[in-house]
């Protein structure tokens, strides 16, 4: 199976106050289409930085990222935005729903962004799938944390992305809700054949992924 994500010698450094802070060093890995991968490690180990680089949200200091066949290093910010629009889905720890949009509108945004009409039915279907059929016209402030994250999941999958990046998707949720969300995440992932990259502190969650990348001080470490 061909790789949907491939990194080579990936490194990220920050400069400031006459010092160089290396956050990520020489990271090479690849992820096949439809595969799942968890990135784990203690706080400050570079997990979120790696996710940001893989998703094209940030530029590496060295190395390259090949995402859905596109070398992100050779693309402008707007071109990377288009790659995200067409191939990538996101789930954030803090949900990142647009507060002025209803649940339904939040889910429709990626499709509308791509200029596609007739998305209402699909969005309703997805929200029904995540159990929010009765919450279509509620604003984020009117939803609980778990409900907000389910809306975020629906939004992430509406575009049938080839790869989904999830940053601590259960970080802000209680145990029971977390379990429901995780189950939902993996079910949707499997059903759509979407690759999944998951950043988490939760080792139990990490074990559900096919591969795990452990980071410490910006380097990949073996168990």
């Amino acid at each position: 199976m061909s790789a949907i994500l491939e990194t080579k010698q990936l490194a990220k450094e920050f400069h400031g106050g006459g010092h160089t802070l290396t956050v990520l060093q020489d990271l090479t890995f690849s992820l096949a289409a439809g595969a799942t991968c968890a990135i784990v490690g203690p706080s400050g180990s570079g997990k979120t930085t790696l996710l940001g680089l893989c998703a094209g949200l940030d530029q590496p200091t060295r190395g390259s990222v090949l995402l859905a066949g596109h070398d992100l290093g050779k693309l402008s910010e707007d071109e990377r935005a288009r790659v995200r629009r067409d191939h990538v889905g996101f789930v954030f720890q803090s949900f990142q729903l647009i507060p002025t949009l209803t649940a339904l509108e939040n889910v429709m945004v990626p499709k509308e962004l791509a200029g596609e009409g007739q998305v209402h039915g699909l969005a309703v279907e997805l929200l029904t799938k995540v159990g929010l059929k009765d919450r279509l016209h509620h604003y984020p402030t009117q939803l609980s944390g778990g409900e907000q994250q389910r809306v975020a999941l629906a939004r992430a999958f509406i575009n049938r992305p080839q790869i989904l990046f999830a940053d601590e998707p259960t970080g802000n949720l209680d145990g029971e809700t977390s379990d429901r969300i995780v189950s939902m995440l993996f079910e949707l992932n499997e059903a759509a054949g979407t690759a999944l990259v998951l950043v988490t502190h939760n080792l139990e969650l990490a074990q559900r992924a096919q591969t795990t990348i452990r980071l410490r001080n910006g380097r990949r470490v073996e168990e």
Binding site: T48, L51, G52, A55, L57, D58, A68, G69, H70, K74, L75, E77, D78, E79, A81, R82, V83, R84, R85, D86, H87, V88, F90, F92, S94, Q96, L97, I98, P99, T100, L101, E105, V109, P110, E112, L113, A114, G115, P140, T141, D167
Partner: protein, 853 residues
């Protein structure tokens, strides 16, 4: 990079997604944004109203130009017209009529009171064009048959009515009506010396007109349409000017009035302009705050694949919709301002201004409003492009203020150019426009400097061990994203304008008022004939009034200046000597001393060697010396009622003209003018208005020709004028203050979320509701207090500058007004702050956080 993309992105402005997102995203902020937009709307309304009113004003000047002069041509002179002059007038072959005007006393027998007035005697046929507006309307004709037209304010002052009698010199007439409007003149400045109209025939009966009277003679002409007055004047005007006649045609009056109206318009325009700028600043601020709260949304959109420019376009669309609403709503509201202005300006307009829609003005104001809105909006919107998608992952990502980007710098340049272009387009004279933009920049720059200084002081103050609530309140003035500058600008500018006006008014009145100085005169009696001198003195002394000065006055004209005939200089168009200094009647005195209000600058006075023969040494005032371009040792020949007198400048004096004392441009030594025909001026001090009225009554009854200037009356009329001027300035300042209050309320409202988070945090940490309210109180107190301090500081500086350089008077501060400003502005800020933030401290933290998110 194209492979794999599903569609080509249309330009942002045609992208339905941008419009849809702009609409949806604005849901929670529409009210807040529109509230800020109100400031812009007020600004556009002010400028639209003023510009449209300006168009109406210009049209009125054009339509009514003939009636503004009342004739096709008017020629005036300080002396009765000679036979030679009359022959020239007759050669014009137009209809002609003569009149005169002079200062005189009017006496109301019913109230046994009187005062100095401007007496105008008009021929039956005048005005040829336009008409007097009187109450009753028939009075404009009936006064010509033994009647008197009296200005409305004068009747009110002496409680006189139509039908009462008045005495003018030796003649008694009946008040035929109230004078409301005179073609080409305004009411406001008529109040200095109220106008009274009688017929030319009745002027003879008053016997007030004598050779030495301070009169102005006037001949008016009406020509058939076939005569081109301007062409005619081109041929004969040099000759008339050389005869020291003043010539005015309809065209000249129109230009002069146009200039006066332009000055008035410039003032109105400046006020509107400030309101518009503040409105622009308000929109910029609103969007900056709006974007700050949309950081997460922007980052999420960027994560979802929206390009940088399209993200910015979403908010630009919102800004432009606000701009459109402000621009066109403001233009419509401008019609109301345009309607109100003629009433506000009634006393300053010498003609009726017809209301008519000026689509040009409204559209121009709307377009400028839209452009300013767009430019002010771009400044905070451009950085939207730099919000990285990573901000969605990194919750601690901070939008730290950076230096201006290249794009922002270009916008700032465009904004500057726009402001200059706007000022120039509104001013009809690029220099005035540049001056307006420059002056405003200086005021804003100074306010910004003051704001910066005050913020630094607050930072230092916050470090010292003050109570917790005070430290928190002070910290809010300099913490990141503070609104200190914008609030100081908006509130400070409005308060600064109003306070400067009040302080200047006070300085002027105070400067004229003899502060309980009984050694300085406050009443002047003039036109006293030689044979009346002793009698007047007797009346004064009988009433216990001290004759402080008794000064002889002799009228003369300048004949030759440094060897060149004045007539020749008048004909010389290249001469830079002001015409009035050559044409005027010089009222001179003779004495060998310096007056109390005089200071010797150069030369010697009294002259050491003068035996009353040969060249006469004279002392001249420094201002007239500059105008006439003479220096010590130069010779001037004066024509003293037919007798040439050769004089030499031997002394230069500085004169304090503000003092109500007889002051002179030229002073002769004793022993020259004693036998020349003239009159006397007497100065005295009257302690109360009652004594003054009693003295005036007695003098007037015995010597009808003697005129009296009473300082208390002068002050009263000055006060009247200030009240009228102030009402106009206050009306226009309303726009500045209104925008200031909207900016204040909007800024506080927009920062409510930040404030809520802080107060929730503080309450979570154990602060009581009362403490949270106290912190807010301190913050508003400081904001209002700093704005008031800045406004007072600038107003005091402006007041001092005006006192020293413009009015040349002692700087006197009205500390009461300063104190009131210092109390009123912080109070207003606290009240508005309380209104906008009420309820914040009353709700459970969680509830508020959810509601405000």
């Amino acid at each position: 990079m194209t492979s794999g993309t599903k569609r080509t992105t249309p330009p942002a402005w045609r992208d339905p997604f941008v419009w849809r997102m702009a609409w949806r995203d604005s849901r929670s902020s529409r009210g807040r944004l529109m509230f800020f937009a109100l400031a812009m709307l007020v600004g556009v309304a002010a400028i639209a109203g003023v510009t449209a009113f300006g168009d109406n004003l210009r049209q009125a000047v054009l339509d009514q130009s003939r009636s503004l002069l009342g004739a096709d041509l008017v020629i005036t002179s300080r002396r009765p017209f000679t036979d030679q002059q009359v022959k020239i007038f007759q050669s014009f072959k137009g209809e002609m009529s003569e009149g005169a005007s002079l200062s005189a006393m009017i006496y109301f027998p019913k109230s046994n009171d009187g005062r100095l007035i401007q007496l105008r005697a008009v021929p039956d046929v005048f005005p040829y064009y336009g008409d007097f507006t009187t109450e009753p309307p028939t009075a404009k004709d009936t006064f010509r048959r033994g009647g008197v037209l009296v200005e409305e304010s004068l009747l009110a002052q002496y409680d006189a009515k139509v039908g009462d009698t008045v005495k003018l010199g030796n003649w008694t007439g009946v008040i035929a009506g109230k004078l409301q409007k005179v073609p080409g003149e305004n009411i406001a400045f008529g109040t200095i010396a109220p106008r009274v109209y009688i017929s030319v025939e009745d002027l003879q009966h008053t016997r007030l007109l004598r050779p030495e009277s301070l009169a102005r003679f006037r001949v008016s002409f009406r020509f058939p349409d076939t005569v081109n007055v301007d062409d005619l004047m081109e041929q004969v005007k040099p000759e008339l000017v050389a005869m020291r006649l003043n010539v005015e045609t309809v065209k000249e009056r129109r230009e002069e009035l146009g200039q006066r109206m332009t000055n008035l318009y410039n003032f109105l325009n400046l006020s509107g302009f400030i309101a518009l700028l503040l409105g622009g600043i308000a929109v910029g601020t609103a969007l900056q705050l709006h974007i700050r709260q949309k950081l997460a949304t922007v980052a999420t959109l960027r994560c979802l694949g929206v390009e940088a420019n399209r993200t910015m376009a979403i908010y630009l669309v919102q800004a432009m919709v606000i701009g459109l609403v402000c621009a066109f709503g403001g233009a419509l509201a401008g019609v109301l301002v345009q309607r109100a202005l003629p009433d506000v300006m009634r006393d300053f307009l010498p003609f009726a201004v017809e209301f008519s829609f000026s689509w040009r003005a409204l559209l121009q104001a709307a377009l400028f409003g839209l452009a300013f809105c767009g430019l002010f909006a771009l400044l905070p919107l451009l950085p939207v492009r730099d919000i990285p998608p990573l901000a969605a992952l990194r919750r601690n990502w901070e939008d730290t203020p950076k230096r201006l980007t290249k794009a922002q710098f270009i916008v700032v340049l465009l904004l500057g150019a726009g402001i200059i272009a706007f000022s120039v387009s509104q001013s009809h004279d690029w220099r005035v426009g540049l001056g307006m933009a420059g002056g405003l920049s200086i005021a804003i720059g100074l306010l910004a400097l003051v704001a910066q200084g005050l913020r630094q002081s607050a930072r230092k103050l916050a470090r010292i061990s003050l109570p917790f609530v005070w430290r928190q309140g002070l910290a809010s003035l300099h913490r990141p994203n503070n609104r200190t500058l914008i609030l100081l600008l908006s509130l400070g500018l409005g308060a600064f304008l109003l306070l400067t006006l009040r302080l200047t008014e006070h300085s002027l009145l105070h400067g004229l008022l003899p502060q309980n100085e009984t050694n300085r005169p406050n009443a002047i009696l003039f036109d006293i004939q030689s044979d009346q001198r002793a009698g007047v003195q007797e009346i004064l002394e009988k009433q216990g009034l001290k004759v402080m000065q008794q000064v002889p006055v002799v009228n003369m004209r300048l004949q030759t200046l440094k060897g060149t005939a004045v007539d020749a200089i008048l004909k010389d168009e290249d001469s830079e000597i002001p015409r009035w200094t050559l044409r005027r009647e010089y009222r001179c005195t003779f004495r060998n001393t310096l007056g109390d209000s005089e200071e010797l600058l150069e030369g010697v006075w009294p002259p050491a060697e003068f035996d009353a023969t040969g060249t006469i040494p004279v002392s001249m005032e420094e201002g007239i010396v500059k105008d006439l371009q003479v220096k010590l040792g130069d010779e001037l020949i004066f024509d003293v009622q037919g007798i040439p007198m050769t004089t030499k400048v031997v002394a230069l004096r500085k004169v304090d003209w503000r003092r109500l004392e007889p002051n002179f441009f030229v002073v002769f030594p004793n022993g020259v003018l004693e036998d020349a025909p003239g009159f006397y001026i007497t100065a005295t001090f009257v302690a109360t208005p009652q004594i003054s009225a009693q003295m005036q009554r007695e003098v007037l009854q015995k010597y009808a020709n003697v005129s009296i200037i009473d300082l208390t009356l002068v002050l009263h009329t000055l006060d009247d004028i200030f009240t009228k001027v102030s009402s106009v300035i206050r009306f226009m300042s309303l726009f500045t203050v209104a925008t200031g209050i909207i900016v204040l309320a909007g800024t506080l409202l927009a920062a409510r979320f930040q404030r809520v988070r802080e107060s929730v945090l503080l309450r979570t940490l154990g602060a009581s509701r009362q403490q949270v309210q106290q912190i807010q109180f301190v913050e508003y107190l400081c904001l209002g207090g700093l704005a008031a301090l800045a406004a007072c500081f600038l107003a005091l500086m402006a007041n001092a500058a005006l006192a020293f350089w413009v009015f040349k008077m002692t700087w006197v501060v009205d500390w009461l007004s300063v104190g009131l400003t210092l109390v009123a502005l912080p109070s207003l800020t606290i009240i508005i702050g309380w209104l906008t933030n009420r309820g914040v401290a009353n709700h459970p933290p969680l509830e508020i956080l959810r509601a405000e998110a």
